[in-house]
């Protein structure tokens, strides 16, 4: 990230953690919640979300891949040479991931 060399390892760490979570867990979740539940192959499971382990799991599942996105999107747009200034782009990408994390915490605590 352009704003400070010292916190670079943090963003790289979140990027790889998000990459691992996305690689192992996201495809099955797309099958479940993009197809199986909407098309009625499996009945919905509203009560499941009251379990604290499920809440923590959802937090990890949703928040970490957002940092993975932020990192890839930031570097891909830089690599595309579109002339977008680096610092605002970095703030927009990583800032969105932070906003997404806060939103995820809020939602899992509300449900």
């Amino acid at each position: 990230m352009a704003s400070g060399k010292n916190i670079d390892p943090l963003w790289w760490g979140l990027f790889s953690a998000g990459g691992v979570v996305a690689a192992f867990l996201v495809p099955i979740h797309i099958i479940l919640f993009g197809f199986a539940v909407p098309l009625g192959w499996i009945q919905d499971a509203a009560t499941l979300y009251q379990n604290w382990l499920v809440k923590i799991y959802l937090f990890v599942l949703i928040s970490l891949p957002l940092y993975h996105w932020a990192h890839r999107f930031y570097f891909a747009l830089n690599d595309m040479r579109l002339g977008i200034p680096r610092k605002p782009l970095a703030i927009l990408c990583y800032g969105s991931a932070i906003v997404g994390t806060i939103a995820t915490v809020w939602v899992v605590l509300q449900i």
């Binding site: 996305a22 495809p27 993009g34 509203a46 890839r72």
Partner: protein
């Protein structure tokens, strides 16, 4: 080196057109891989908005999933699934190269590591499926 470095404006910087990644299949696949993160993030945000409907009760939650039956959403999820699988496979391939695994002083071939990761991915996916079906009560 001391003080002899030319003025920055006189250095040569190769000019890269912003379409460079469209010219070679490998670069195009690289950009597709980067794009996979966009679809993964979009899917997770959509999923989060569905879970949020639980605050309005189980019926609102069920209705929000019914709205995902439309062809547009099905196409979106089909695309997201293809991109997610592309991410998984390329992620396992690259981690096998970036983080070599040593067993008894020997480095395992990256292909073996990738295969083991893909096996673990399938097992984990089945566990998530079984847990979801059995725990939903």
């Amino acid at each position: 080196m001391n003080g002899t470095r030319p003025d920055k404006s006189k250095l040569y910087y190769p000019k890269m057109p912003s379409t460079w990644w469209l010219k070679t299949p490998a670069y195009f696949l690289f950009m597709l891989r980067e794009l996979s993160s966009v679809f993964i993030a979009l899917f997770l945000i959509v999923y989060l908005t569905r879970i949020y409907q639980l605050t309005h009760g189980p019926q609102a939650y069920a209705a929000s999933f019914e709205s995902l039956r439309s062809p547009g959403w099905i196409i979106f999820h089909a695309l997201a699934f293809l991109f997610a699988v592309f991410h998984s496979v390329t992620w396992f391939q690259s981690t096998a190269v970036v983080m070599p695994v040593r067993v008894g002083g020997k480095v395992l071939p990256p292909r073996t590591v990738t295969a083991v990761n893909i096996g673990a991915w399938i097992v984990i996916s089945l566990i998530v499926l079984i847990l979801f079906v059995t725990l939903r009560g």
